[in-house]
C-alpha cells in the first residue's frame, strides 16, 4: 500500500492557524492550576502499600520475630541482605539472626523480602527520606531495623 502525503493547504503552508491553535493551548495552561508539590514544605500523600525503608518486627516478648531462615536473603534480587544465624537463647525458637544487615544502597525496594518471609518478621515502612553522609551509615544493622 502506498501512503499519500497530505498536501498542506495554503493556510497550513504559512503555519499561522496551527500556531495560533497551539498558542491557545499554552495560554490555557498558563492560567490553569499548577501541579507542583512544594516538596520539603508539602509532602505527597503516602498510600498504605508504600514501600519505604525496612523494619524488623518484634514478637510479644520484644524479641525479633526473625528465625534466620534466610529466605529473604535468597529471594532478594539485588543481594542486599546479609544474615548471620546463631542458636537462639529462646528454647521455643531454633535460630535467630546474630547479624542482620540490609544495604539500602543496593536495595531496590521491590518488597520481595517481605513477601518471602514465612514469619512476617520483616515489613516496609513509609520512611523514604533516607539520605545520609556516608556509605557505612546506609548499611542498616539489626538494631537500627528493630527500632
Amino acid at each position: 500500500m502506498r501512503l499519500k502525503d497530505k498536501r498542506l493547504n495554503i493556510l497550513e503552508y504559512f503555519y499561522i492557524p496551527p500556531i495560533l491553535k497551539g498558542m491557545g493551548i499554552t495560554l490555557r495552561h498558563f492560567f490553569s492550576r499548577k501541579v507542583t508539590v512544594q516538596y520539603p514544605k508539602v509532602k505527597k500523600e503516602i498510600y498504605p502499600r508504600f514501600r519505604g525503608a525496612h523494619r524488623l518486627e518484634k514478637n510479644e516478648q520484644g524479641r525479633e520475630k526473625c528465625v534466620a531462615c534466610e529466605l529473604c536473603a535468597t529471594v532478594c534480587p539485588s543481594k542486599a541482605i546479609t544474615i548471620e544465624a546463631a542458636e537462639s537463647p529462646d528454647p521455643e525458637v531454633e535460630k535467630y539472626p546474630l547479624r542482620y544487615e540490609i544495604n539500602v544502597l543496593r536495595c531496590i525496594f521491590c518488597g520481595f523480602c517481605v513477601e518471602a518471609c514465612p514469619k512476617e518478621a520483616i515489613a516496609m515502612t513509609d520512611r523514604y527520606e533516607l539520605a545520609d553522609y556516608s556509605r557505612e551509615a546506609l548499611v542498616y544493622n539489626k538494631e537500627m531495623l528493630l527500632k
Binding site: 503552508y13 499561522i16 500556531i19 498558542m23 493551548i25 495552561h29 492550576r33 512544594q38
Partner: protein, 361 residues
C-alpha cells in the same frame, strides 16, 4: 555642545544601559523561566527571594564565580572578542530607539532617546547584522564541530531572513516617507475613518507578519533557533563558552536583542509611544488643566509615554516567550524554504501592492 546637553546625553546612555541590563537581562531571565514553567503547569523558580524574584541575582553570582574554561585549541583572541561583539552590538542598537516623544524641560527639548538619527531604522538593521559576526566568530573560535555548525547556520539564516525583513518594511517606509523612527511614529497618529489609528499593522498587515517572523529568526528564538538547537548541537555557537560571564554575555545579548526587536515592532507597527487618538500636546495640556506646572506636566507626560511604550514592548516580549514554549523548531530545509520561497516573494508582493494602492489613492 554645552555641558548640560552633554550631561543629559550621558544620563540617557546610562538609562538605556540600565534598561538593557535590567529589563532585558534581569526581568526577562526570570520572566522566561516563570512563563515557561506556568505554561507547563509548573511553578518555576520560587526559592530565592519572594516568589523567586531574586533568582537572577543568584545566577549572576554563580556565573561570576565559575571557572573560566578556555578550550586548548580555541583561537584565543577571537574567543575573547566574540562575546563582546555580541553584547556590544546588542546594546548599541538601543541607541536610536525612541521611548517617548520630545517634551520641553526648562526650554530644552528632550526625549528618552539617545540619538535621533535620520536613518534610524537603517542603523538598527546595520547593527543587527553586525551581531551575526559575534555568532559566526564564536562558532569558529570554539574549535568544536557543534559550535562551528551553529556558526554556519547562523550566517545562512541571518542572510536569508535579513532580506525579507528589509523588504517587508519598505511598504512602511513608502507610506510614512521617512527613515527617522520618530517621523514614522508621528506618521501613525492620524485616525482612519475617525476610529482606527493609522498604525503600521492596520495599513501593512502582511508586512507585520513577515517582519514578526523575520524578527524571530533574527533574534534566534524558537522556532528559528537553529544556531543553538540544543537538541542537535549541544548549545550551538556558544557550546565552548560553557560557563562564566562570557556565556552570560550571550545570554544577555539574546534578551537585549529581543527587547530591540520588540521595540522596533512597536515603533513600526503599533504607533510607538502613542495612545491612539491623543497627541502629546493634548496630554500635556490635560495635565496643565489639572493644575500641574509646566515642568510636572512634561514629566508626567514623559512617564506616561514611557509606560505606554514599555507596556507595548512587554506584550511582544511575552509573545516571544509564548511562541518559544509553544512550537517546535523548524528543520533546516524548512527554514530556508520559508525564508526564500515564502517570505521573500510575499514581501516583494507587498511592496507592489502598496505601490499600486498608493498610486490609485
Amino acid at each position: 555642545m554645552d555641558w548640560i546637553g552633554l550631561g543629559i546625553i550621558v544620563a540617557k546612555i546610562v538609562f538605556f544601559l540600565l534598561v538593557g541590563f535590567t529589563a532585558a537581562g534581569y526581568v526577562m531571565n526570570l520572566a522566561e523561566r516563570k512563563i515557561s514553567a506556568f505554561m507547563q503547569d509548573r511553578l518555576g523558580p520560587n526559592r530565592v527571594g519572594f516568589w523567586g524574584l531574586l533568582q537572577p541575582v543568584a545566577d549572576i553570582i554563580k556565573l561570576f564565580f565559575k571557572e573560566d574554561v578556555v578550550t586548548d585549541r580555541a583561537s584565543k583572541v577571537i574567543y575573547f572578542v566574540a562575546p563582546m561583539i555580541i553584547a556590544f552590538t546588542a546594546l548599541s542598537a538601543l541607541a536610536v530607539i525612541p521611548l517617548t516623544d520630545v517634551l520641553t524641560f526648562f526650554g530644552r527639548g528632550m526625549a528618552i532617546q539617545i540619538a535621533n538619527l535620520n536613518v534610524g531604522i537603517l542603523f538598527i538593521f546595520a547593527i543587527a547584522s553586525l551581531g551575526t559576526y559575534g555568532a559566526v566568530l564564536s562558532g569558529w573560535a570554539g574549535n568544536s564541530k557543534y559550535s562551528f555548525l551553529g556558526g554556519l547556520r547562523s550566517s545562512a539564516q541571518m542572510i536569508s531572513y535579513e532580506v525579507s525583513m528589509g523588504l517587508s518594511i519598505i511598504g512602511i517606509l513608502m507610506i510614512f516617507e521617512s527613515l527617522r523612527l520618530n517621523d514614522i511614529i508621528l506618521g501613525q497618529s492620524p485616525l482612519l475613518w475617525g476610529f482606527l489609528p493609522k498604525w503600521g499593522i492596520v495599513v501593512q498587515p502582511l508586512a507585520f507578519i513577515i517582519f514578526l517572523t523575520a524578527a524571530f529568526a533574527e533574534t534566534n528564538r524558537v522556532p528559528f533557533d537553529l544556531q543553538e538547537a540544543d537538541a542537535e548541537l549541544v548549545a550551538g555557537f556558544h557550546t565552548e563558552f560553557s560557563n562564566s560571564m562570557k556565556f552570560g554575555m550571550f545570554f544577555m545579548a539574546e534578551y537585549i536583542n529581543m527587547f530591540t526587536s520588540s521595540a522596533v515592532i512597536v515603533i513600526l507597527f503599533f504607533g510607538g509611544w502613542q495612545i491612539p487618538g491623543i497627541s502629546t500636546a493634548e496630554i500635556v495640556s490635560f495635565f496643565i488643566s489639572l493644575g500641574a506646572s509646566e515642568f510636572f506636566a512634561s514629566l508626567f507626560t514623559i512617564l506616561l509615554q514611557l509606560g505606554v511604550t514599555f507596556a507595548k514592548i512587554a506584550f511582544f516580549m511575552f509573545l516571544f516567550v509564548w511562541v518559544r514554549w509553544t512550537i517546535p523548531r523548524f528543520r533546516y530545509d524548512q527554514l530556508m524554504n520559508l525564508g526564500w520561497k515564502g517570505l521573500l516573494p510575499l514581501a516583494i508582493l507587498n511592496i507592489l501592492a502598496t505601490g499600486l494602492v498608493m498610486v490609485i489613492i
